[in-house]
Symmetry: C2
Subunit: 434 residues, 2 copies
């Protein structure tokens, strides 16, 4: 979104990155307006969420300049982008690289995309392809290496094409949770580490890897702490702000983010003690589960919260899965630390795993821990995996006595009215569970 704070002209930087300036200006304008409409209209936000406004206003400008400058001055080696929680950031930051999540939350250059990818492709995949084809993502353009992963059919195949547009490394993620699959995954993490060492020219050591693990764990601990405050009624922070906190974690400097999240958590703890909420006491409480929401995909949360509900947790890659597990910091060799990293990432309950009972267990447990009154299970259109798992989610929610609604949607606004009606009806029928 347009930087409203500092009077710096970022156009020369974007131009140097090879971006399409008029298109990018249009994108920033639209996202800035969305941010205003969705975020700045919220009431009773914790003051510390000012950090989120700072991130939002800097996301395509100040943050990119910081990254470019860091590379220029030798403070950082390379920028390495990825699209998935399965890519271990610790390996990148240990080699003094900057790890970023790449843009995939809005429709862009759809006509160009559909010349290459089938129409029936999920909006997230179309989005990152369109952001590249349209040259409007400074994260993609400033990345020296893009890391893909064989997760769903669509991403796997789309990366083959993306790899013709950017230097890529693809990690092969297993489909099953067996010892054999874990061994194979450990080997994938090692191959990735080797590639990052080559790319950055920095060798992994116990010191730099352990420090990187600690930094990532600190971030996760801060996010866990913030998440815990959302069990309270009234809930001290909105779902929208919580979602943006995790979205920010994919893009902002990890140390700055961790400090800011700890400050948010502290303020939220104080609010909980004081009975102060971002939503009124008794607001209908929703656990979100399903496909990830990349910036600026705030659509569903906005509908839920503008309808008077509040999202108190998210069993999703842009949520709980991002921070639920820590990496064991006790390894004494690079190999031990890499194994610990692999083991931690292997616990992410991605829907590509078959079977994937851990996800359903997490959903029910989280709904209870966070005192959710209902579950909204959402899949991006054409996401076979989440669509298929929705029957299991529904069954588990029913068994636990928690109402659950399944939604299929995309990034467009055509279904906003219909979704609003459905969600209002769902919220009305919910009964507080405490």
């Amino acid at each position: 979104m347009a930087d409203e704070r500092v009077e710096v002209d970022y156009h020369p930087m974007w131009e140097a990155l090879g971006m399409d300036l008029p298109a990018h200006d249009a994108l920033l304008g639209a996202v800035g307006e969305m941010y205003g409409d969705i975020y700045l209209t919220q009431e009773n936000r914790p003051e510390s969420t000012g950090y989120l406004d700072f991130v939002a206003s800097n996301i395509h400008s100040g943050r990119i300049k910081e990254m470019v400058d860091a590379k220029g001055s030798g403070d950082a080696t390379k920028v390495i982008g990825s699209f998935c929680l399965y890519v271990p950031e610790e390996v990148i930051t240990a080699c003094n690289g900057i790890s970023v999540g790449l843009c995939s939350g809005a429709d862009w250059a759809t006509e160009q995309v559909e010349e290459r990818l089938p129409r029936n492709t999920c909006p997230l995949i179309k989005s990152f392809t369109g952001f590249k084809l349209g040259n409007v993502c400074p994260y993609i353009e400033s990345s020296d290496l893009v890391v893909g992963e064989n997760t769903c059919d669509g991403k796997k195949k789309a990366y083959e094409y993306f790899g013709t547009l950017k230097p890529m490394h693809v990690m092969d993620v297993p489909n099953v949770h067996t010892d054999e699959a874990l061994a194979m995954w450990k080997s994938q993490v090692r191959q990735f580490a080797k590639r990052v060492e080559e790319e950055t020219g920095v060798e992994l050591t116990v010191e730099n890897l352990r420090a990187a693990i600690k930094q990532a764990n600190d971030k996760r601990r801060a996010l866990q702490r913030l998440s815990a405050t959302r069990a309270a009624d009234p809930v001290p922070i909105s779902g929208l702000d919580s979602l943006l906190t995790v979205q920010a974690a994919f893009m902002d400097d990890p140390a700055r983010l961790t400090d800011a999240v700890n400050a948010m958590a502290e303020e939220c703890e104080t609010r909980v003690a004081a009975g102060e909420g971002a939503a009124p006491r008794g607001a209908k409480r929703i656990l979100y589960t399903g496909t990830p929401m990349a910036v600026p995909n705030w659509k569903l949360y906005n509908i839920i919260e503008k309808a008077g509900g509040v999202v108190v947790g998210e069993e999703a890659c842009t949520g709980y899965r991002y921070y639920k597990d820590l990496v064991d910091e006790s390894g004494e060799t690079v190999d031990e630390l890499l194994d610990a990293i692999a083991e931690r990432y292997f616990k992410i309950n991605c829907a590509i795993f078959s079977p994937n009972p851990g996800r359903v267990e997490d959903i029910v447990r989280l709904a209870k821990e966070l005192n959710a009154d209902g579950i909204i299970d959402c899949a991006l259109q054409f996401c076979t995996l989440y669509e298929m798992e929705s029957a299991d989610v529904q069954a588990a929610a029913e068994e636990a006595g928690i109402p659950c609604m399944h939604i299929t949607t995309d990034y467009a606004n055509e279904d906003t009215g219909q979704l609003t009606t459905r969600i209002q009806a769902f919220l009305e029928m919910l009964r507080p569970r405490r």
Copy 2:
């Protein structure tokens, strides 16, 4: 389809299998009618294709009785069904089991299916789920074990559900062609072998395994021989009959099928020498590539051939991929033979592999070898993998100077008119390449 040859009432057998008799009668009636309209209206068929009519008329009746009787008399151990080329039949037949491909070529019980699976699921997956839910497939019902495989997202997740309806074993197929993936696949083949040994109570030995390999190889050699005759102009056998030959291979007794295919190949060789064809000399020649066609999915071939074209080859699981590679018969231990089996199956160029250059190479080479004038690349609706690969297929065909048309379709007849128009136009613009 209804058995017109022998006056045997198969209803008691179907009832004993737990099938829905009125629904199954309706299915057989419809398929029988389709067979008459599509197959028996063909002109200039080789006489030896009488075998195909025999298979077609026995597919749900005589053949099932044969299997059930073989189990009853101890001539066979178990019936083991599967949905994918990656499941090694040699392991099953070595343990004196009967290996069958399961029904998935027609819409059935769609409403019931869509209560459990998303609407946007490929028709093949909906089909096998519907055939089970509707109790109309004697192959599914007579199977003691069903073997799934982690291939595409949709099948992987649908098997989790199918496994609640039938005893299942799922093989994990890799996504990449690396040494590590091959090692993992070999281990999967071993685990499958162990499961089949347990299921059948028969231990694998060098003797039974080598004999099973030889039997499967003989079948492949016969199919290769038949395929080679299709390079001639005029082509001695239709695409429809060739397709049904491979479809039959999933269901009929392997020795009987091999003899019949060799007889067909011999007749076709004679026809080639005599310049006799199933289609006129100069008929436009099509190489089919894309998603598999399970019985009774003859729709596209019928459109092509009724429009005056002729299909001369198929780079597909119901075609070339089924018979292109032999298993090395020289292994001297069970382990060596199992490794040889794993290595052979690992060469199947399934679209789940990333990247999958072998498929595109095969398409271009086959088109040249079989003197195809054009390529029709077809994906079942919502098949992300084949839809995504179509851009590569198109690019390779263009580079080779071979016209290529991409089609997306399903099992319904709603698009028959539109497809006919498109295919007629495509056939008209083709120029003979010899």
